[in-house]
Each structure stands twice: as structure tokens, then as C-alpha cells.
Amino acid sequence: MPERTIRVMVAKPGLDGHDRGARILARCFRDAGFEVVYTGCHQTPEQIAAAAVQEDVDLVGLSCLSGAHRALFPRVVELLREKGAADITVIGGGIIPEQDIPLLREAGIKAVFTPGASLESIVEWINSNIKPH
């Protein structure tokens, strides 16, 4: 049986509309051969978790540039666990101060990419860490 392609959801939690990074990543993931779902801006953690389960994705990539990541990223992981979807990997990126990264990792965000991360490095991380389920 041919291996299923990786399904990725790019999501923008919170009220922040800085979506340049998220949209570039959505294009980049598409070009890398992943199946891509992009939520658009202004999603609540509840909406993101529900959509991730419904779309049966392998990975959720959260992007936030407003400083609300500390509240919003862990909430998405929490909600996925509540829905019995802990197998969906969550990663994040945006304007994330160095000192917040341990807190996010502890909350279950598997990787955090900050400004300057190349597209290639993100795709590589996904290819070596995500097995389609």
C-alpha cells in the first residue's frame, strides 16, 4: 500500500492578522508534497482543535505574532488531548521570545520555529518527525 501523504494544518489562533508567515508556509508545504489545510486568521483554539480532528491531520502548525502564544498554543494541545487526538503533533512559530520556548515545549508543543528559520528546515523537521497515521 502506498504511504499516505502527510496532512498538515496551518492555523492562526487569536486575533492577530499577521499571516504572511502562515501563508508562505502553507504554499511551501504544498510544494513539499504535503496535503495542506489553512484555517485563515482569527481562529479560537476550540475551532482549531475541532478542525484538526475533522480534517484528520497529522500535524498542526500554529502561527502567532501578537504575544498571545503563551495562552493559545498550550490550549490547542490541551483540547486535542481532550478530544482523544493526542497523536496529532502540534508545532508553533512566530514572534516567540527565547524564554517562552521551554514553557511551550513543556505544554506539548513539539517544536518552535522563530524568525530566520528557513522553509527547508521546517519541511525537514516535518519529514523526519511525522509519520502519517
Binding site: V10, G14, L15, D16, G17, H18, D19, R20, A22, R23, I24, A26, R27, C28, Y38, T39, G40, C41, H42, T44, S66, G67, A68, H69, R70, A71, L72, R75, I95, P97, T114, P115, G116, S118, L119, E120
Partner: protein, 560 residues
């Protein structure tokens, strides 16, 4: 013809001769790149000569400052009469925190205020809304009611200082608060001055701070233009913004074209909906551009913008008053050009970008702080950014003469080229039936996506350079102090809001919200009702909920 026959002949002869020399030089020392291009990926030639601008008509295409086509500026004395306004965008935490920062900036020589609101305020939610989780006071100041606003303005002389407010979907409400504050302080509306950004089209195109669909959003903007024209004549009721279009990844030409086309859409709506004459309100329109890293491209963009707007107002809208033809604009240096890596380098980037804005003839300028890529700016970082402007103005001599780059073969040629490309875009959007229609088709959004993705790939491939990111990256860091907004700002804000809800006259609030609802339904101007509502301490979200109820909500289509 711009040059004499002799000059053109001599130029051609010399160019031919030089071309042989170039071929020889290339054989021995190939150039560093195959293709030289701007940050927007527009190709730049090795050399520009009289031949590149030979078709220019001096009087019609260049002229003098203060005369059509205003390429060289609106003011006949340029910066010699008055420097641009030093206007630093700031807002953080609570109203009290922001008020303290403002007073520091005014003390240090800033000449105008500029307000950054937090995301809940920008999106029309109160601090206690579930949607505001984690966002209160983070990216700017939190304002829920007039009480917060009065604290923000405490000790600020409203008749003397002009205030810019970066607010879009709830612009009517924040402006109503400003008008109410003036009223309470006994300052007549005719004396207050400032700007509300109030440009919704670029939100759908780029910044994504939206609430209601495009059509009613434009209607609310026309309400403010009408109200300003009648009662608040010193207020710029709209700041038609390219800044965010550029930050979203557009090219310089796209920024220029989409911004001016947005401007056309607003003028058309006010004329059609309100029946005003263009000359009645044209001077209420202001613009806002980005100053990015490609020095000459930015200067040419700003010069082209002035000339194009003058043509649009004269030829498309038949404005008669010369002042209606002026494109007056604020500039901010490019946030997206700053790097988290080696952040002190950002001071250098900002300086060069600020210089471009000055040579492009801006009327007002915000210089980014070196730490803005990481957090809200620290006091020290803001001071350096403000000093950058003061050094440019008062030490370097760049403000001594007006439009000093005019007449340069390269500058005039690039200005013309950008103008032509921008007209093509405007024509395309006209053919689609205007900007609201183009947004519906996703046209400007996808053009920007394309450009942003291309730039990122060029960066990854090393074809474009960001120092410290894809070249000269180092592991050594010189950490900078980061401003952190504590979560308790949110808690404090919720407490204040609760207090207001308890002590206000809820009957009066309900009545004023009903009045706004009726004004929306009857297509009346909402401004008088908004002023009444904020005076009665209706919250920002309560008023926005009325807009959402009557006009519906716009959801991000998630194009990429």
C-alpha cells in the same frame, strides 16, 4: 524634449564607446550577480543615461514643488519651512502606561502622538471577551470605554497636539471617544487635529483586522469623512495605507498601486453615497507608506505616488482646488525588514529607510525601534529611534533643499517605470469593477502571496540577503532587554470594565445602542450616535456588536 539634441547625441556616442569597455571588463571580472534587482525584484540596469529619460516633459512631468504634478512635493519651502512630524507609534498595556510613554516622547521632542491599540480593541472586542484571551494590552493599549480613553489623554493638550490612531473596524468608536474627550475638556471639535487610519480595504487585502464585510465597512468610512468635513475640519478621517500591504509581502509597485486604487474607491463612495463634492473632502484624505530597505526604489515610489494622485484627482475626479491634488503621507520604516538576529543592526536598517522617506518627501515619520521585531519597544530603544530622525533632520543637511534627487537619470527613470506598472494594476482593478470586487476575487491578496513567497524562496536560495539571517549569521549574541507585558494588565482591565458596567446608566446605554442600530439600518451617519453612546459609557464591543448584528461578520477566506 528634456535634453538638447547635442546632449543626446553625445550621450549615445559615449554610451557606445563605454559599452565596448564594459564587455572587456566583464570578460576579466564578471559582475557579482547575473541579475541586479530591487528588494521587490525589479531589474536595475548597470547605468542610466539621458536616453532613459529623454521623453520627459520638464514642466508636465517634473515641475516645481507646490505645483502640478507635485512630484517634488506639496510645500514650496519643503522641510525648510517645517520638518516632517516626528511621530512614534506607541501603545502598551494600560491607558496609564501608554500615557506615561507619550509624555516621555513629547518631552524628548516628539511632535505628534500615534496610538497603538491591542488586538481586542483593534478587532472590536472588550477585554473580558473570551476572544481576548492572552491578548489584552499585549500589542498596544487596551481601551474598552471612554473612561480608559480619558486616562489615555490625561494631561495631553488636545488643541495643540495632533494624534494619530491606528484603528480600523472600530474607527468610528475610537474617534467618537476622541471627540467626546475634547468636548469634556472644553476643546471645540474645530480645534482638534489628528488622523484615524480607518482604511478597511487594506485590511481585507493585507492586514486582516476586519469585522464586517467590505461594503458596509466602506459605508462607515464615508460616514466619518462626511462628519469630519462638516464638524472636524482639521482631522484626517482616513489614512489610506500601503504600509500593511507591503508588510504582507507585496512589491513596492503593488503597494503603490493597491493603495492609490483603495483611495479611488473611497473617493467614489463618498461622492456617490454622501453627495459631497470632491473638493469638499479631498483634504481630509491622507496616506501611509512603508519605507523598505531598497533605498532608491522607496524614494521613487513616494515621488510617483504624489504625481499619480495629483493626476487621479485632477483627471478622474475633476478636483478644482489645488490642495485636493496633494498626496500627504506618513511613513513607517519596514518592520518586516528587521531581524531578531543581531538586533542592533536594525538601527542601521531603520536609519537608511528613514533617509529614503525623507528624500521621498514624507510629511510624518515613525522610525522602528531595534527591538520591535521581538517585543514592544523599550524606552531606550524608542529614544534611539526618535534620535535617528532628529539626527537626519538637524545634522545631516538632507533637509536643506527640496527633492534633491530630482533630475537623476536613474531616479526619474525608475519613478516613471514604477508609475507605469502601477497604472497597469489600477487599470486591471478598474476592469474588475473596482477594489471591493477585486478583493472578492482574491486578486490583490494572491498577487501579494505570490510576491511574498517569491521573496522567501530567493532568501532561502541566497539570491536575496538579510544580514545575520542568511549571511554573516553568528552564534554569538548580544542579548537586548525585552519588554514584557504582564498578564495582570488584562486582569486589571477586566476589573475596570466591571466597575464601569456597574456604575453607568444602563438604560441610557441601551437607548444609545438602539440609536446606532437605527442609524445603521436607515443608512444615516452613525457618528453623532456613537459620540452619545461612548459618553454614556457603552463599551467598544457593545457598539461593534451592533455593527456585526446589522452588517454581518466577515470571515477570512484563508487564501494562500
Amino acid at each position: 524634449m528634456y535634453f538638447s539634441k547635442e546632449t543626446l547625441e553625445a550621450s549615445e556616442k559615449l554610451s557606445r564607446k563605454s559599452s565596448d569597455e564594459v564587455q572587456k571588463a566583464l570578460k576579466n571580472h564578471p559582475e557579482q550577480k547575473k541579475r541586479f534587482s530591487t528588494v521587490s525584484d525589479a531589474e536595475i540596469k548597470r547605468l542610466y543615461t539621458p536616453d532613459d529619460i529623454k521623453d520627459i516633459n520638464f514642466a508636465e512631468d517634473i515641475g516645481v514643488p507646490g505645483e502640478f504634478p507635485y512630484l517634488r512635493g506639496n510645500q514650496v519651502t519643503g522641510y525648510r519651512g517645517r520638518y516632517w512630524t516626528f511621530r512614534m507609534f506607541s501603545g502598551m498595556g494600560s491607558a496609564r502606561d501608554t500615557n506615561a510613554r507619550w509624555k516621555m516622547l513629547l518631552r524628548e521632542g516628539q511632535t505628534g502622538l500615534s496610538t497603538a491599540f491591542d488586538f481586542p480593541t483593534l478587532m472590536g472586542y472588550d477585554s473580558d471577551s473570551p476572544k481576548s484571551l492572552g491578548e489584552v494590552g499585549k500589542c498596544g493599549v487596551a481601551i474598552d470605554t471612554l473612561e480608559d480613553f480619558l486616562e489615555l489623554m490625561e494631561g495631553i493638550p488636545l488643541a495643540d497636539v495632533t494624534t494619530s490612531m491606528t484603528i480600523n473596524p472600530p474607527a468610528t468608536i475610537l474617534w467618537a471617544m476622541y471627540c467626546a474627550a475634547a468636548d469634556i475638556k472644553g476643546v471645540p471639535l474645530s480645534r482638534i487635529g489628528g488622523t484615524i487610519q480607518n482604511d478597511m480595504l487594506k485590511e481585507f487585502i493585507a492586514q486582516k483586522t476586519f469585522m464586517c464585510p467590505p461594503e458596509p465597512s466602506v459605508k462607515l468610512i464615508s460616514d466619518t469623512v462626511e462628519f469630519g468635513t462638516k464638524y472636524v475640519p482639521r482631522w484626517n478621517t482616513i489614512s489610506i495605507s500601503g504600509y500593511h500591504i507591503r508588510e504582507a509581502g507585496s512589491t513596492a509597485v503593488q503597494e503603490l498601486a493597491f493603495t492609490l486604487r483603495d483611495g479611488i474607491e473611497y473617493v467614489e463612495d463618498v461622492v456617490r453615497r454622501k453627495g459631497l463634492n470632491v473638493d469638499d473632502f479631498a483634504t481630509r484624505l491622507s496616506f501611509f507608506f512603508n519605507s523598505h530597505s531598497d533605498f532608491f526604489e522607496e524614494i521613487c515610489k513616494m515621488r510617483a505616488a504624489r504625481r499619480m494622485w495629483a493626476k487621479i484627482m485632477r483627471d478622474r475626479f475633476h478636483a478644482k482646488d489645488p490642495r485636493s491634488l496633494w498626496l500627504r503621507f506618513h511613513t513607517q520604516t519596514a518592520g518586516c525588514s528587521l531581524t531578531a538576529q543581531q538586533p542592533y543592526n536594525n538601527v542601521v536598517r531603520t536609519t537608511v529607510q528613514a533617509l529614503a522617506a525623507v528624500l521621498g518627501g514624507t510629511q510624518s515619520l515613525h522610525t522602528n525601534s531595534l527591538d520591535e521585531v521581538l517585543c514592544l519597544p523599550s524606552e531606550h530603544a524608542v529614544e534611539i529611534a526618535l534620535r535617528t530622525q532628529q539626527i537626519l533632520a538637524e545634522e545631516t543637511g538632507v533637509a536643506n533643499t527640496i527633492d534633491p534627487l530630482a533630475g537623476s537619470y536613474f531616479i526619474e527613470s525608475l519613478t516613471n517605470e514604477m508609475e507605469e506598472k502601477a497604472w497597469d494594476y489600477i487599470q486591471k482593478i478598474d476592469d474588475m469593477g473596482g477594489m471591493v470586487a477585486a478583493i472578492g476575487k482574491g486578486f490583490p491578496q494572491m498577487e501579494i502571496s505570490e510576491a511574498a513567497y517569491r521573496f522567501q524562496r530567493q532568501l532561502d536560495a541566497g539570491e536575496k540577503t538579510m544580514i545575520g539571517v542568511n549571511k554573516y549569521a553568528t552564534d554569538s549574541t548580544h542579548p537586548i532587554p525585552l519588554v514584557d507585558i504582564e498578564e495582570k494588565v488584562g486582569e486589571e482591565q477586566m476589573r475596570r470594565l466591571k466597575d464601569v458596567r456597574r456604575k453607568r446608566d444602563n438604560k441610557a446605554v441601551k437607548k444609545s445602542l438602539d440609536d446606532i442600530r437605527n442609524a445603521c439600518k436607515k443608512e444615516d451617519n452613525v457618528m453623532p450616535c456613537c459620540i452619545e453612546a461612548v459618553k454614556n459609557l457603552a463599551t467598544l464591543q457593545e457598539i461593534c456588536d451592533v455593527y456585526r448584528e446589522v452588517y454581518g461578520e466577515y470571515r477570512d477566506p484563508g487564501l494562500y
